[in-house]
Symmetry: C2
Subunit: 226 residues, 2 copies
């Protein structure tokens, strides 16, 4: 073949001699499969279609991932990892609790909106009763920090006398997730039934604002009680 494609193993040779580019092939497959699974679901996805969207062949899918479910599991874990890692960008340290919470809600809203394929994978997985996620121990530990972050904010707010003391961080996470996830997961049916006024830029900005207001209104101690 040509010599140009040969220099592919461009990664610095750390421990192993990267011959052809197994890691790259894996990533390539994972990206293609992730897109197709998100679009069509587990049973709706066709291995041949995934292979076609790849720079490599169907044979490689089975070589690296065993079977369709193995590939799906790998996609699921990769999706969680990518999205949760993206959340680490958010730095709330030093902000006053109310500002921190407002920023967290707004960020979560936008973050989910930026990752519709992740949301679709989660929906697909819920259709399957989270059967595949259950095996992934990584996912559990990957998600715990979200709760910790909230607990911290709530605690700081409580100490500052601006937040109610009876709000459970897990409940709050549930509430915030509900808004941020629903916005993406049910966009198609919602806009079909009620029009898409809520889903253009202005509408989304308003919804995000409402979400922030709503969470803060729940958590705050009303002025007259302070």
């Amino acid at each position: 073949m040509d010599g140009a494609s040969r220099q592919a193993p461009q990664r610095a040779r750390e421990d192993g001699p990267a011959r052809r580019d197994p890691e790259g092939v894996r990533r390539d497959i994972l990206a293609a499969a992730g897109a197709v699974f998100a679009e069509k679901g587990l049973s709706g996805a066709r291995i041949d279609e995934i292979a076609a969207r790849t720079r490599t062949s169907k044979r490689m899918i089975y070589y690296y991932f065993g079977d369709k479910e193995g590939l799906y599991r790998a996609c699921l874990e990769a999706a969680y990892e990518q999205v949760r890692r993206g959340e680490e960008e958010l730095d709330l340290a030093g902000l006053p609790p109310e500002t921190a919470l407002a920023r967290l809600v707004a960020f979560t809203f936008d973050h989910h909106r930026r990752h519709p394929d992740f949301i679709r994978m989660v929906m697909v997985e819920n259709i399957h009763d989270a059967r595949h996620l259950r095996g992934a121990a990584s996912a559990r530990s990957l998600n715990r920090p979200a709760i910790d972050r909230l607990r911290d904010i709530l605690e700081r707010g409580r100490r500052a006398g601006v937040f109610r003391p009876d709000i459970d961080p897990l409940e709050l996470h549930w509430l915030i997730s509900a808004l941020a996830v629903f916005n993406v997961s049910n966009r198609a049916t919602f806009s079909t039934l009620f029009g898409d006024a809520l889903f253009d830029e202005a509408g989304q900005a308003r919804l995000r604002e409402r979400a922030v207001e709503m969470v803060l209104a729940l958590v705050r101690i009303p002025q007259e009680h302070r």
Copy 2:
């Protein structure tokens, strides 16, 4: 065709074989198909499995519904119809606006919880970008009353001076739906990642209470501004 004189056949003989019963057969198929589609999705569902859960045969499915997609569409419409009809039970007339809104939120929360198969159908449909729902004109008209009900409550609250005037009923419906739907649609992944403390009876009662608080806190004019 005549509507009245045709429904005779299955009536009298309860335990007899009721040979000809088109309407009954249709309902039977729809029920079985609804369950399977909700469980496995459109592409995951197997016509043979649906047929097996039926008192009749695969042949009848094609006789009555044409093909798999036709059957799916019929299930989708039936699901929306059944659930929206169930919402008509709720009577809020005469209640003060705050009470009415609180009751509406609590009812919506419980109602969705009682109909997980409907939620699953909606999820499946969202995976398909609402392609099949788009054709169903009935669904659109079926859902409009939900907005009207909210508009009415908001308007009454505004006139009574207890609700903010800048809340759009559509936005509010979005918010309420997000909480009620997410609670069912993402239960599997959420409880896998964070435990199922929120999903036993006590947990669900707490979540419902939070949802009510949250919506009311958003819509109310704060005491000190009245």
